[in-house]
């Protein structure tokens, strides 16, 4: 176990590094915060705590798992299928002691999270997809099997897409919405594919609200009283 890593984005959260075994693989993860658990799936080149994860760790227990395939540790072996990876990540979450959790991911890690939400539906109680890619053919190879299986996602899902995203097209975004039954689709204005880089406060506000209030996040509970 290594020492703690200070969170970013102005947060005081300190992430500590750990390892857990699942499906015969050693999975690396970072953890910070207390409260309702949020599992975040990241590729290893993005495993440093992001600003968003750091801010969320001030309100939730955030566990950032490295999806095996690249990076440490070197004993991970040949890459499994996306669905197998999803089972491995679900096993890692269980090994950490999580019965139910919210699941969040970005970009090309989306297929792993989606399979996890399908196959481990009793454990995933909310799903957050930020600029998802890799499912629908959008100028790049898609995943037809996963495409067909998306209707099996029963959990509330928040999907965020930047209005200037030039990786995941608006049409692809709409296909996610059409395919996932209980999907809340939010456009983040003036953000490209890297929403967190362009509009970190907007992203944090929306994700936090959804994770805390789930479907009721569509109800404005903010006071509009100017002078009582």
């Amino acid at each position: 176990m290594s020492g703690g890593t200070q969170g970013s984005g102005g947060s005081s959260a300190v992430f500590t590094e750990h390892f857990v075994n699942s499906s015969g693989r050693q999975i690396r993860f970072l953890e910070a915060g207390r409260g309702q658990p949020l599992v975040v799936l990241r590729a290893s080149d993005a495993l440093m705590p992001s600003g968003l994860n750091s801010l969320l760790a001030e309100h939730l227990r955030v566990i950032v798992f490295e999806i095996p395939g690249t990076g440490a540790p070197p004993t991970n072996g040949p890459p499994p299928s996306t669905r197998e990876l999803a089972r491995t990540m679900a096993g890692a979450a269980a090994a950490v002691g999580l019965d139910r959790y919210a699941l969040m991911t970005t970009n090309a890690s989306a297929p792993v999270a989606l399979w996890q939400a399908i196959d481990s539906r009793e454990m995933v109680e909310a799903l957050v997809l930020i600029s998802p890619s890799g499912v629908f053919s959008d100028g790049r190879p898609g995943d037809p099997e996963l495409e067909r299986a998306l209707s099996g996602i029963k959990t509330s899902t928040l999907l965020l897409l930047g209005t200037e995203d030039d990786v995941t097209s608006p049409d692809a975004g709409r296909m996610y919405v059409r395919s996932i039954p209980n999907c809340y689709y939010v456009l983040v204005y003036d953000a490209g594919h890297a929403i967190e880089a362009a509009r970190p406060d907007a992203l944090f506000a929306t994700v936090r609200d959804f994770l805390e209030r789930r479907e009721t996040f569509i109800v404005n509970r903010g006071s509009t009283v100017i002078n009582p």
């Binding site: 965020l160 209005t163 709409r174 919405v177 059409r178 809340y184 689709y185 939010v186 456009l187 983040v188 204005y189 003036d190 509009r199 907007a202 992203l203 506000a205 929306t206 996040f217 569509i218 109800v219 404005n220």
Partner: protein
Amino acid sequence: MTDVLDGSYTQSPAQLYTHGPSPSLQGSARRAIARKASPMKTSFFCTNRYLSLEALSHDGWPTPPALYRSDIGLRSVEAALAEATLADELGFDWVSCSEHHYTPLLQTPNAALFAAALSQVVHRAKIAVLGPLVSMNNPVRIAEELAMLDQLSGGRLVVLFLRGTPNEFLAYGTNPDETRARTQEASVLITRALTEPHPFGWEGRFYRFRTVAVWPGPIQRPHPPMYYSGNSIESATFAAANHLALGVSFYPPHLVAHIMGHYKQECARHGWEPTADQLLYRAFIAVGEDEKEAAALEAKYFGGNVIGGLFRGRGATVPPPSAPPMPTSVGTDADGKNTGADKGPIGFGLGTLRFCGSPDTVVKQIAEFHETTGVGVIDISFGGAGLTLDEAMKSIKLFGNEVLPRIRHIGAAVPSEKETSAAAAG
């Protein structure tokens, strides 16, 4: 049938000019020729001005509601609808209206409401809302209104997103410093609200909506033609990047040409080319039987600088921005900066009668304006505050009967035999 934004016409291009291509030419060939042939369109700007110089002459904005008389108000709106009907009968391509607040000069604080009334008395011309003040209003509400208008008009709506003038930011308590950014965000949101097939949320800088699902939808798909107010280089840049047509108001020709030139360069940078009917200009106009009559109209047209009153009184109190916006290099910004550049007596190019004269003179002026600027739509107001209703109506009729038929061809290229043959072959 409706015109599509890219300049192609669903009506036969042969109807557009005297010697046109064969109607037997198919789709892309006809569109290729039609794209080059973009005849001048004329829009009648229906202002619904209050027909009393007493109220119009009140110096300063806002005009006290105490000066409003119900009988004059009723007569004014009846006259406005009569003008619109006349314009439709005379052959104007569009009838337009615009949102303005707290002034008898333009009694249309809700442009959508007025446009709805126009849609029921104007049966042929397009209904052009030029436009809602999107910096000050709920963008989702605007989207809903536009969809309804397109439905009510049978698919004839055209819209232009306006920012507003400094005095009007006071009407709803909008922070003037934020209006440019609000206008930009609102324009993008309105477009998405009219085109997204599924309910969606919006997390903007100024607007947050968690559930947007506009019903009815527009009749025109993917949406009605959309223009953006481009009285600054910054706005023209935004319009080009967001594939919006451009409207400029009241500036002199050299400034309009400068802005349109920049706009076209930016469009090219973003991979598209606007057609002439995506370049719009709003202006004041007066047509007399002869030069002498026109000169008399010009002398009284603005009723002693009534328009200038919009920027006096409380209208002059838009404070200097706490964080100065990027300075505009062209014309008068809606923040009131740089008032000298457009050479207008008031700023914003206002107070100048751009087209004025006998029918022959006005034809020549419009042709020259098109030659200088490339503008393909002129949105013209005949209702100067100093004119009587009869004077304005006579001016409208003179224009409709003796100018309009002679300017339609402006901008319409007659293809050569070689071009027609090449298009047919290809």
